[in-house]
């Protein structure tokens, strides 16, 4: 910032506070001739001279959501204290904590930890028939009700039962997902409160999937024996790097390639799912033996995808069912197509999604054009297209035509940190 601009800003500050004389005011006016924003600001003050503008500015400053810089040392200590507490909290989890519970619909007596232990073992033996009812939640918590050593023994026992393991993860999965609405409130509570009550500790563990810095909702069930994992997860942005759980992630976009937020991503057979964030991104971790993922949103036609073994990075375009109001998207001051998630890959055709689709459709011979088709293909890190497929009803000639065009004429860019190929699924209207 140049000295002149700093000087101008300082002059305006003084004008606002009234600590300015006529000569300097004249100087400020001269600068205002060159800078429209300054002119507008001066005019605003003059239009309402009676308002206490300095007070307004002070109010703004005090309302800014920031950690006060004067207290940075304290902030540091808070962070350290919070980490420590998290570690303490996870061990506290194993202590009885039925008091002050927020969930009301338990399937068993909360205070009888003996019965709870029995219930756990029975549940594990039955392979947890309905993992996602609210009853599952207290079951999971009941697991933690007994004291630390016994619980760990039990968990390990259960872990050894092979069929129980996935359900274990699923239980934790749903537990982590449980009551997403409470998350935000509790996240605030967990971030600011320091008192190590058991309840807080439990809430803190529930906040494990929600990283403190971002609003992204990630599903990250920690592996059962490692009770310190939640603490790490809380601190590191991407957990999958540390633990190699198979996961599926990707972006959901509309036909134009713009992201869709709040798309519900469901695993087949489980009523609880995850939602895409504002950049259309979602991650499902710990996927084992799941074959179908479905994506649904009120404005779009639901879409189900059968996962093959290799698909890990997805990019799905959904078909709009009704008019999507995208005015806010359009009115953004600086609109870019870079998505703020560098960890995952995103494939984008060089000419743009719209132009590419237009080009494909245009070169299809008229006799092959009918209705709309959905095609899927893989884009690797070099931008090469392969593995083109469509659903069974598509005529082979059409598929070949589109496939050839894609392979030869489309140039894709893979924005990626890991160089994983992306599975793109898009809809073409012929």
């Amino acid at each position: 910032m140049s000295k002149k601009q700093a000087h101008i800003d300082q002059l305006f500050r003084r004008y606002l506070s009234g600590d300015i004389g006529p000569g300097e005011e004249a100087e400020l006016e001269a600068y205002a001739q060159e800078e429209e924003a300054l002119a507008r600001a001066i005019q605003a003050i003059r239009e309402q001279p009676m308002l206490d503008h300095p007070a307004a500015v002070e109010r703004i400053k005090s309302r800014l959501p920031r950690a006060a810089r004067k207290k940075t040392l304290l902030t540091y200590r808070w962070v350290a204290a919070a980490c420590l507490l998290l570690a303490v909290g996870t061990s506290l989890l194993w202590l009885p904590e039925w008091s002050g519970n927020q969930l009301d619909d338990f399937a068993m007596r909360p205070t009888e930890s003996q019965a709870a232990e029995k219930a756990i073992q029975e549940a594990a033996a039955e392979d947890a028939p309905d993992p996602v009812t609210p009853a599952a939640l207290p079951k999971v918590r009941a697991k933690k009700a007994p004291s630390l050593p016994t619980a760990e023994e039990k968990i390990e026992k259960q872990a050894k039962q092979a069929p129980a393991t996935p359900s274990e993860e699923q239980l934790l999965t749903t537990k982590e997902l449980g009551a997403p609405g409470e998350e935000t409130k509790q996240q605030l509570a967990a971030n600011t409160a320091v008192a190590p009550t058991e309840e807080q500790a439990e809430i803190a563990v529930r906040q494990v999937p929600a990283a403190a810095a971002t609003k992204r909702r990630e599903l990250s069930p920690p592996p059962i024996p490692a009770t310190t994992m939640p603490a790490q997860d809380r601190l590191s942005a991407d957990f999958t790097q540390a633990v190699k759980l198979p996961s599926v992630a990707g972006y959901i976009t509309n036909e134009e390639g713009e992201p869709i937020a709040e798309v519900e991503v469901l695993l087949a057979g489980q009523p609880m799912g995850i939602r895409t964030d504002s950049s259309g991104f979602f991650v499902l971790k710990g996927i084992q033996a799941v074959e179908r993922i479905s994506f649904s949103h009120p404005n779009y036609r639901s879409f189900t995808l059968a996962l093959g073994g290799n698909q890990r990075e997805l990019q799905i375009a959904l078909e709009a069912v009704k008019e999507e109001p995208n005015t806010d998207w359009m009115l953004e001051a600086a609109r870019t197509t870079i998505y703020p998630n560098p960890i995952r890959s995103f494939a984008y055709p060089q000419q743009g999604m719209k132009a590419l689709k237009k080009a494909i459709v245009q070169q299809i011979p008229p006799e092959l054009r009918q209705g709309k088709i959905r095609i899927s293909f893989t884009v690797d890190k070099l931008g090469k297209v392969s593995n083109i497929s469509a659903d069974e009803n598509t005529p082979a000639a059409l598929l070949e035509n589109i496939g050839n065009y894609l392979r030869q004429n489309s140039r894709w860019q893979l924005v990626s940190d890991e160089n994983e190929p992306v599975e793109v699924s898009m809809l073409l209207r012929l």
Binding site: A37, A39, L51, R59
Partner: protein, 197 residues
């Protein structure tokens, strides 16, 4: 993280502060940059939205908008970019409220300087404008006359100092001086029929 402990009273360039923020996006890192511009942002918002409370809210919204969007942008010139952001935000809000953005009026803007120049003796004694000026100042209502005389004809006065001297609110002083200027202009134009002020 050590930079959090450094004193913020450095005259760091916009670009430096911006880079720092982009390295480690946090509200604390954005604050120095934002506070540097907060008065201007407030002024602009006030101009568009007309209401101080709304302008305050808009400033907070803009801060949050910056917190979200800034890390992703590659900005060469922060100042004009920021001004565009503020402008668009205010216009969008006006659109939501279905109000028209106000027109810029010349009258309020470019007068203090001209008057100051005139009163500071930029004219020879015989100039008719000076005559008219003197007469018009005498014709002003009392408070406006007082304020205008103090501000323009006395050395080293500021709005604050006048407010103190006359035991008035800063806002009142501003108002008197502005209205005084306007009245002077009308009066002088009536007398001479030449523009100038």
């Amino acid at each position: 993280m050590l930079r959090f402990f450094k004193s913020r009273e450095q005259a760091a360039a916009d670009a430096t502060l911006l880079a720092r923020f982009q390295e480690l996006p946090s509200a604390a890192a954005l604050s120095p940059l934002f506070e540097r511009y907060v008065e201007l942002i407030y002024g602009q918002a006030l101009h568009y939205l007309k209401d101080a409370a709304k302008a305050e809210d808009a400033c907070i919204d803009i801060f949050e908008h910056l917190l979200r969007k800034l890390p992703e942008q590659d900005i060469q010139n922060f100042r004009p970019w920021l001004q565009t952001v503020v402008r668009n935000h205010c216009l969008m809000q006006l659109r939501r409220e279905k109000r028209e953005p106000s027109q810029q009026s010349e009258e309020l803007l470019v007068h203090s300087g001209a008057l100051a120049h005139l009163l500071a003796g930029g004219l020879p004694e015989e100039d008719p404008r000076l005559e008219a000026l003197k007469a018009c100042i005498a014709a002003l209502p009392t408070e406006q006359k007082q304020c205008v005389r103090l501000f323009y004809l006395t050395e080293g006065q500021t709005y604050l100092s006048i407010a103190e001297q006359l035991s008035l609110d800063l806002g009142k002083v501003r108002s008197f001086i502005q209205n005084g200027r306007r009245n002077l202009r009308i009066c002088i134009e009536k007398r001479i029929k030449t523009i100038a002020i």
